[in-house]
Symmetry: D2
Subunit: 348 residues, 4 copies
Amino acid sequence: MPVGFVQISVGITGPLLLNGCEYSVPMATTEGCLVASTNRGCKAIYDCGGATGILLRDGMTRAPVVRFSMAKRATDLKFFLEDPLNFDTLSLSSRFARLQGIHCSIAGKNLYIRFSCSTGDAMGMNMVSKGVQNVLDFLQNDFPDMDVIGISGNFCSDKKPAAVNWIEGRGKSVVCEAIITEEVVRKVLKTTVPSLVELNMLKNLAGSAVAGALGGFNAHAANIVSAIFIATGQDPAQNIESSHCITMMEAVNDGKDLHISVTMPSIEVGTVGGGTQLASQSACLNLLGVKGASKESPGSNSRLLATIVAGSVLAGELSLMSAIAAGQLVKSHMKYNRSSKDVSKIAS
Amino acid sequence: MPVGFVQISVGITGPLLLNGCEYSVPMATTEGCLVASTNRGCKAIYDCGGATGILLRDGMTRAPVVRFSMAKRATDLKFFLEDPLNFDTLSLSSRFARLQGIHCSIAGKNLYIRFSCSTGDAMGMNMVSKGVQNVLDFLQNDFPDMDVIGISGNFCSDKKPAAVNWIEGRGKSVVCEAIITEEVVRKVLKTTVPSLVELNMLKNLAGSAVAGALGGFNAHAANIVSAIFIATGQDPAQNIESSHCITMMEAVNDGKDLHISVTMPSIEVGTVGGGTQLASQSACLNLLGVKGASKESPGSNSRLLATIVAGSVLAGELSLMSAIAAGQLVKSHMKYNRSSKDVSKIAS
Amino acid sequence: MPVGFVQISVGITGPLLLNGCEYSVPMATTEGCLVASTNRGCKAIYDCGGATGILLRDGMTRAPVVRFSMAKRATDLKFFLEDPLNFDTLSLSSRFARLQGIHCSIAGKNLYIRFSCSTGDAMGMNMVSKGVQNVLDFLQNDFPDMDVIGISGNFCSDKKPAAVNWIEGRGKSVVCEAIITEEVVRKVLKTTVPSLVELNMLKNLAGSAVAGALGGFNAHAANIVSAIFIATGQDPAQNIESSHCITMMEAVNDGKDLHISVTMPSIEVGTVGGGTQLASQSACLNLLGVKGASKESPGSNSRLLATIVAGSVLAGELSLMSAIAAGQLVKSHMKYNRSSKDVSKIAS
Amino acid sequence: MPVGFVQISVGITGPLLLNGCEYSVPMATTEGCLVASTNRGCKAIYDCGGATGILLRDGMTRAPVVRFSMAKRATDLKFFLEDPLNFDTLSLSSRFARLQGIHCSIAGKNLYIRFSCSTGDAMGMNMVSKGVQNVLDFLQNDFPDMDVIGISGNFCSDKKPAAVNWIEGRGKSVVCEAIITEEVVRKVLKTTVPSLVELNMLKNLAGSAVAGALGGFNAHAANIVSAIFIATGQDPAQNIESSHCITMMEAVNDGKDLHISVTMPSIEVGTVGGGTQLASQSACLNLLGVKGASKESPGSNSRLLATIVAGSVLAGELSLMSAIAAGQLVKSHMKYNRSSKDVSKIAS
């Protein structure tokens, strides 16, 4: 059925020094200055000894909606599902994916059941969907009056901005941090620590609050997430929740240096299946050393990929925020100033 | 700087019969069944006489954050900017983009100024950023105590899920509708009108409400938006707000037929600049007849593209919702049932 | 310090027939027609055999924010707190309130720890705050580098609209339902089942979605919650999250009758302490049979009160929605029509 | 119908020095320490020369939902309503309230029309509802196929947390600010400027962001709003949106002093009608000098009341935030420390 191809150029940013290792991060984007900008962030991080990334959670979710004739029966199923005694049985029935937890939410006689499963190195939507279908079949025995309205009832929640992902996470949750010295802020990033701290407070925290943001407390996480997703064969539509990010900047070491962090609760990535198998995308995964399923430690490839995504977002936030902070100084020279033009291009 | 390319296969869906014209819509995706599924929706729409799309609004936004020493001064600027008497002067000063409106929001002594501009056939972020920079330079004369903290203060809001876009729109706002007859629902979509109406209420409305969704009252708008964005050289990171969509399904004609609509307030597309100039992406725009800047009616190409995006989302919603609604009937045959597997792959 | 009193008149609505018992529900309000309207809803419920209310959860929360010098340490504490092996020790250390669960959320090097506790018949904020203070003191031994920034870090979340309460609940979570026959809808509520179902879909679901509502998928839950809260000595500021409610209306029994439900995840009430001890408020609790601490079953009084609140909201939703649905028919007679004026007064 | 009364004690806080005038602010609450705490904030403000409050907007809203057979017709009405040429005619037809603006939002073939009106010294819901009913009657002539589904379609949005109020305001929008000197922070508030600035960033901005707050970027605005609302006969259920508030704290004067502000977009108050006419509530309005309708400047009484509410919230935020900031220092003395107990009572 495909009639052809679009090509998207891939740039390499890095080395991103993360947890002691160096990564050359592929970014597929039509916006060249995005790679250059992220690269500057990587350099600042590198010059300060690197970033640290920590995985907080790993589980894909799927939430069917089922209906009963009365709310009473929906609550019966809810209590059944939440009873630890039933967990092992349910877990066995899911078969395709390892069940981690169940979160039920009720709207009258309709029950939304958010299953969370570990899915190895796969992004995991297929696995979880199949597992959930099995669980539903199994439950139908004990709850014959259960009416399955849809395998997805939007409490999952996939490819939609939804608080449930922001609050509870979906896929991989990662926090990533670095300390950038005053000197590097000045020399590499061309701004100052107080300017960055203030801009972060007024833009990424207060500004997003004023805008009614949901999980959008950052400058441009989505740019980096999208570029890496496309390069490595992820589902680009999932950048919606995968880009949820709160960027924090705080002055440390007596106000001299900058502590920057990104916290991203819903990074949805895999290193097997789907677009990861295509030639060029596969090469990009190879470049990062996370191609395919990890044999020693199942799931570790996709977890590492999520951590690299967060590390790259850290670099991207650092660089764009610096450009914006510095921008005010050079604003009168806009027309003649190349870096200022870059800013306007990618400023989010 | 680019080290290579990733290729993403492009499938054609359609013909999408929209406002009396037929469009072959290119979708770049690694998920083949997404094209097939959207195609089925297009067929159902075609068989019922086509869909109607209406543009509600067209304007790109950018919102700098400026700071004063006191809130009193921030309100002075707010009242100045909102005074119709000043509008023409401000409009002239923006130069690069035609100013449409200004929405100010205050957080203490910090003012967020959301400028909305028409930008012809360009997506318009660059134009607006330059125009806003000019306005700020101009305002500095009258408000010398204004401290420009950042050219973007996140009240824009770009590439973040934020209520301001959902409530006020960003880029193009489009509503698209069709009436699908009972017969087509049964024969092409393999389900029934009551099943679809109920599923839409329980999944896209109630389910998303339960999930705390922001603008995510749909099944998988993001899938279609992302695929067309990548095919036509749009910024894939902007699918976050471009995918904001409320899908409505109502029984009409005495409950016999289905009225389906998608309302999308923030579709951000252009037909000039950025990735639209690349060879394959340019070919995709050509296929739709919206390549480049329209000479007779500036902006009409990008507006048509936005309408086609909404029309394709309509088709996508129709098809996936039908697959989910039908899924319950065939759930016990999952393993042997090809279409069921497809559902699990793309079910959002 | 008090210089005087304000008096708020108390009306009695009911009997509310709930779980087989009849309750006379006191409502303190300056809006007389609110009591009359709720009363009509109670009558409709009564005539149809009563409503059923089910408690889904009971636990008060408090979430301090603590800071470390690095995110790495914040995650250490997070993993420590989430380890089941540590739960008993932590539980003992809380002393004042029985610990149920802990939900940690990270923003860089800052950790927000949402403790959930059962608090008997007290609303429980004081108990939980003291318990949490003890836990923090205890944790300080193992995490001497933990810097307690505030006993509340707004992840609790108290008296603010926040998704965490909507998604996970706070205080009591209750679902309440009833089936109203076609005849009662017509005779008592002066409207029809299809009108109500449609109005609920377009106003409480789609309308709130369009408005960017958070937990506000109802017509006027806050009116009833506030009136009962003030009558029974609850904290009226807590009506913010206590009013979170999704109202569902569905046609049942072959489309003939109406199934109505309200699901309220965050009802914060107590029957001991605070304003419940005052003379008139205490009398109101007595009227409901829920005064003081239950000796046989600690917590059952406050849980019953929460269920009565939900039952009364059910009645209130039923009546106002009916008035609005009928309002379109009588709109031309506004000036002469008493019930229509009532509607305009309380229509939310 | 009323069977009795509940009494709520009224304390006086102040003098609140606001815009050069001193106000004794009545607060009706069963929580004595709330008055004492707000009083401390008032004292700090007083000692520093007072606060400044500025009204940003004044208009009550009501949004009916109407339906057409096709979205096309809904957009016809939308364009009609948004055409400046029609504004005067519409304005005349509303009669009861002065029309300020109209904001339309579409969901398929359903149109939500948010009318904003000035309503003098009344809170204005009745006025607006009547005016909107008239406008709908008038529109029915030109749009006979318009089906009025409900006089309120929840896009108003009344007594529900909804982004539309946070983004566009409802009732009165007010910003209020003060500079608190280092000395007063130390002596009156028992904490330091850096502690307050940091706590505000981590709790009111980042903490609320993590919690998925909507307009809840404050410590306990709802406590003060509710207490003044009940004392002055306002609708206590409207504290939901009236409490929307972003509290900002920034170090000024070379980091020495504290700039604090509260920005509240949706304060819904009136000085005539409803509960304001009752004896004790009327006395409280008298105490503030805002009783009844202003004859010289219609609307100025209710606007002043809104400004006083914001000023009192400023005092409340200042005091509670200080107590929490100081709380960490005294936490080990909880049991013996009266002020610490107070904190735990009102800490939000």
